[in-house]
């Protein structure tokens, strides 16, 4: 079984003037390809830190003291940070940490935005207020996959009306993506299938309208400069050489940017943003929170990443928008087989989309189970209390959990839940339980329950 992501014994600490906060205390997690894995827990349990550590976006006063994060089996995402962390007894050196972060940023450019990406919690502050929406989306496409962009445009110049008609015929006959690709390849029209398919898949247009749009995708004219840039990029090279001169560089980038805007429009329509062609020219402050979150999702998905981390994507939005976004997540998983890590404090939200859930408490994952098992057979006392605390439609009495989340500067000895746990034993207070597989795919870290 190939895992998209493997987290082993991850320990992350934050160094502040008020003390050292141990945010993650040994997190273990294996993510399968194409699954939606939920991470649940109260505020302060470390879920966001987990997401940030995987992406390598920790602030400079954080250190990975132990553990590793492996992407696709072989790429250790935390090596840099780990090397910079202070060893036992050493004082935290913030400069070293800064250097490590800079190094990590440089090295991560080839996976961020293209293999892994993240959607953050607050859509109101996630987008740059002075840049157009289209630019913010197109930027990530151009940075990682400029070649398909060039190919798209070139294909539009080469394709004929008849070719397009033929493709439409194939689509009506029910041909799938692969068949269309083959057809395009055979006619040396690589790049046209992407555009045709995105129009075809739109839900807001009737079939005749869609046909019309597809049939208009031909005989595009190119200026000679445009031709030069596109051919160069289309053959896989970067914009370089004489095109690096400041003014010309800007013009060359704009050629790509124009096509990027068109692709951005397609992405937005896939995410069911109304009037996408207008939206790409707007600025973030002109849009609502739900729209902004969709744009952030569009940015995260633009390059078809293998893993998307969603950090409380719906917490700042109202319920109707929340439902739409959850629907979207399900749809994307089916379409692209992307793996998702869905972080939320709301178990009911997670129950809608996830395949498996991991419950986090005080920096550790205390239970991992398939979605139905979490609600029907919760094992860990904390999980049980969480499920009982959800308001349900049949009006069962809600039970809160006594006590408060521990101060992460002084994590309780033994099992971190023991002060609040009704089933705590002597062993719980002295030793830390490790994850035990109690039934197929259902793990729990609890002495009374795990044995």
């Amino acid at each position: 079984m190939s895992y998209t992501l493997q987290v082993s014994d991850l320990n992350v600490q934050f160094y502040t003037r008020r003390g050292i906060y141990k945010a993650l205390n040994g997190v273990d997690l294996s993510l399968k390809q194409g699954e939606i894995f939920g991470v649940a827990g109260e505020s302060g349990c470390g879920k966001t830190t987990l997401g940030l550590t995987i992406m390598g976006l920790l602030p400079k006063n954080a250190a990975v003291t132990q553990g590793e994060v492996l992407l696709a089996g072989n790429r250790d995402l935390t090596a840099c940070l780990r090397n910079a962390a202070p060893s036992e007894g050493e004082k935290f050196n913030i400069k070293q940490s800064e250097e490590a972060i800079k190094k990590l940023n440089r090295e991560s450019c080839d996976i961020r935005g293209t293999k892994i990406s993240m959607v953050f919690q607050d859509p109101m502050t996630s987008l740059n207020p002075v840049l157009q929406i289209g630019f913010q989306i197109a930027e990530t496409i151009i940075a990682h996959q400029p070649r398909p962009l060039a190919e798209r445009k070139i294909a539009r110049t080469k394709v004929t009306h008849d070719d397009l008609g033929q493709i439409i015929k194939l689509l009506k006959e029910g041909a799938d993506e692969q068949a269309i690709n083959k057809y395009a390849e055979s006619k040396n029209l690589h790049g046209i299938e992407d555009q045709v398919l995105s129009v075809w898949r739109r839900n807001d247009l009737g079939e005749t309208k869609k046909e019309k749009i597809i049939l208009s995708l031909h005989s595009e004219k190119l200026g000679s400069f445009e031709k030069l840039v596109l051919e160069r990029v289309g053959s896989g090279k970067n914009i370089g050489g004489w095109m690096r001169i400041p003014g010309i560089n800007r013009a060359a980038k704009n050629v790509l940017l124009k096509e990027g805007y068109i692709k951005a429009t397609e992405l937005l329509s896939m995410l069911e943003v109304p009037n996408p062609d207008k939206v790409v020219r707007m600025y973030p402050h002109e849009l609502s929170g739900g729209m902004r979150q969709r744009i952030v999702i569009a940015i995260a998905l633009a390059n078809n990443p293998e893993l998307v981390i969603l950090d409380e994507p719906t917490s700042a939005l109202d319920v109707t928008v929340q439902a739409q976004i959850l629907e979207l997540t399900r749809h994307l998983k089916h379409r692209f087989n992307t793996s998702f890590i869905f972080i939320s404090h709301d178990l009911s939200v997670l129950s809608e989309v996830c395949d498996r859930i991991g419950i986090m408490y005080a920096g550790r994952i205390v239970e991992i189970a398939p979605i139905d098992a979490v609600f029907s057979r919760p094992l860990h006392p904390y999980t049980r209390m969480l499920t009982k605390a959800i308001p349900t439609i049949d009006g069962n009495e809600i039970q809160g959990i006594g006590g408060t989340v521990p101060d992460m500067r002084n994590v309780p000895i033994g099992c971190s839940f023991n002060p609040r746990c009704p089933d705590a034993t002597e062993k719980c207070r002295s030793a830390k339980p490790s994850m035990v597989e109690v039934e197929e795919g259902h793990f729990v870290a609890c002495f009374p329950k795990g044995d």
Binding site: R106, D110, R112, T125, V130, T140
Partner: protein
Amino acid sequence: MRLWVYIIRRLLLLIPTLIGLTFIVFILSHVSGTNVILSEYISPKLTGAARQILVQQLTNQFHLNQPIYIQYFYWLWQILQGNWGVTNTPIFSGQVNTAIALFLPNTLMISIVASILIWVIGVPLGVYSAVNRDSPADHSLRIGSFTLYAMPIYLIGIVLILLVGVYLKILPFSGVVNPVSVSSASWYVNGISYPTHIILIDAIIHGAWGIASDAFLHLILPSVTLALAIVASMIRILRSSMLEVLDQDYIRLARSKGISERSVINLHARKNALLPVITLFGYTVAGLLGGAVVVETIFNYPGIGYWTTQALLVSDIGGIMSAALLFGLILMFANLIVDIVYALVDPRIRY
């Protein structure tokens, strides 16, 4: 399209502000009574019947026997026609228009050069300082700008004069141009050069390279002094603004997109960080004007500031009023430009 609406609205707002400014200047100058107007045109030595006749003449000419608000309109009409009155200062006596034509170009010249220096030096240094926080370069920049900020502008000027002008002897530090060299220029008459009134530009237009380079050399120290006085606060503000921006969520998102760090800094961060700096540019211009006064005094650079100081020291009403009006106008237009530039950069305020 929104941008044009904003600009037009802003321009329209200019009119009441103009009226307000002229009104305030007018009222202030008349606070001590209408005798001041008379004293502008009448030499104190004139007495007796001749004085009475002149007083009568002036009273009629300037409608001084009318109520104050009527006088305002007559005065405003004069102003709009370009007749700003008369000034009597040690360095120049005559029509204010001539004085302005004589002095303003010089001040403009050093102000513009100083502004260019401020932006060209200030922005890269401010950004660099924030991005490479706590590096040795950042520390020295901070100490340097801290010290500059604490220095009164005349001290900066004096230090420059001593270092560069006196000890190293590489730059001149007095006047606009060597008077000997321009004495034979046909386009330089009575201290005013034609057609643009700016010696440097006119010299280039007329191909007089010797004069041009001389004027340029004279320009350097005053402009650098002005620039140094102001760039210090700009670097500090830009640095803290940049640091604040770098902490923002959208920068984190930009990094998560995997774009190069250079793009993150120059494209995403810098534009946002410049916003408060642009707002403050209005105050920069105020600082330039204030600084020009001092700089021109130290470097014997005959500009508006020098003339204003002299007017103040001898209580020359014509000069003071006109200077106040002129400064006010310059500042208003500077603020207008600042507002427009800000609207260009920040799309959020175009409503």
